[in-house]
Amino acid sequence: MESALTERGPTLTWRLIGRGPDDLPVTADGEPVTAQWAWGGATGRGVRVCVVDSGVERDHPVVGQVQGSWVVVTGDDGPVVEPTETGDACGHGTACAGIIRRTAPECELYSVRVLSERGSGSGAMLLAGLRWAIQQGFDVINLSLSTTKLRFTEELRALADEAFFQRTVIVASAHNTPVESFPWRFASVISVGSHREADPELYLYNPSPPVEFFAPGQDVSVAWLGGGTIRSTGNSFATPYIAGLCARILSKHSRMTTFQLKNVLYLSAANVRVAPGGTP
């Protein structure tokens, strides 16, 4: 079934199907890192998290305060970013924001809407919104979106590298179907797919990237329009859990670089065991 789904080209691992944590044992070198050390007791306080998506509904009880909202609109010379009072066009961004809030209750949440007021979102809008968010120096950017348009790839790659070196962590969803899309394929971002386990706090490292981590993404309770909730499935909802964890880690270890942060996620993943000692 899986091979039939995979389009021509290299096999992509975009989520965990038919396998559980016991099927993905990973032995790592390094100093053991516990969840308690990494984010225990941390709430994300002071960490600025930006949701680049469809917008976030204002005053949603699950999401709480959104510190700032912007929208990408089409200007005379291309997409421009401006402050907005509009909420969420369809609920997806609100869902992501709610998961981040649930995971990191005291983080600061911001929203950049990259779906145009009219018509579908485009790679250009996504690029403009992401670039702007990186320029603002947010600590964490949640991007439960990607583009399949190859002409944006190199610009996206350069942006992701820029974010990596300035300590803005981009947490990006793998596409829900086995197609090439970006920026989740880049090593400079933290890419997330979903697993089917019931534990809402379980996340796993994937020993066969490009997707690096699997988090809960099946039948997840998410905030939705009108102040309510629904249940939904997809990599989109696994990603904000990892973004929230990143916020908690950074609130406890504020000097951490992006590569350190990824290493902490790696070493404290449920399926990763740190081997004692090293080879002389």
Partner: protein, 178 residues
């Protein structure tokens, strides 16, 4: 849509989708980019007799998200959410509890959306079912392309056809670029 063969093709797509998932209804929407609207193009089950041809805004709701993101989506517990596309649901005279939607794409363009309402419980919230939906959506997209191409052949002047062909070639070249 006056073309009987096209109508039959899309009707078979929604009939099969509905049967595959044991669903209350299934629909194919065409994305009218110029009007920024989604148009019911074929319906199986609930609403079959009156929904075809009806339009709604493409920039909102779950179908709107699918158009914008190019990704499939599975949602449950909709009937507990009072804000769920209340106007649209009321206009279609049916409020589903669960919904699956997948984009119908050609290259990186979204041509429309395949939607399945109230699939049987074992089909819900399963990543496998999401895969099945996405897999079937590829076939549905191919059918939709045939329908659109046939419509273009009969209604579009030759110059427009040539431009359409050039645009398709450009997409192909961009998609195959290293």
């Amino acid at each position: 849509m006056d073309d009987q063969l096209s109508a039959e093709l899309l009707q078979s797509v929604v009939d099969v989708a509905r049967a595959m998932f044991g669903a209350a209804a299934s629909s194919v929407f065409v994305f009218d980019e110029k009007a920024d609207e989604l148009v019911f193009q074929a319906v199986s089950g609930q609403g079959e007799s009156f929904l075809v041809g009806r339009r709604f805004p493409a920039s909102s709701g779950i179908a709107g998200w699918v158009v914008a993101s190019g990704e499939p989506m599975v949602v449950n517990d909709l009937s507990k959410n009072t804000a769920f596309d209340r106007d649209l649901a009321a206009s279609t005279q049916y409020v589903p509890d669960a919904l699956m939607a997948a984009p119908l794409t050609h290259g990186d363009r979204v041509l429309g959306v395949l939607e399945v309402l109230d699939p049987v419980p074992q089909s819900r919230s399963s990543l496998d079912e999401l895969d099945l939906l996405a897999l079937f959506a590829r076939q549905a997209a191919a059918a939709l392309r045939v329908v659109i191409d046939r419509a273009v052949d009969t209604t579009m002047p030759k110059r427009s056809q040539a431009l359409h062909l050039v645009a398709s070639l450009q997409e192909l070249l961009e998609a195959s670029a290293p």
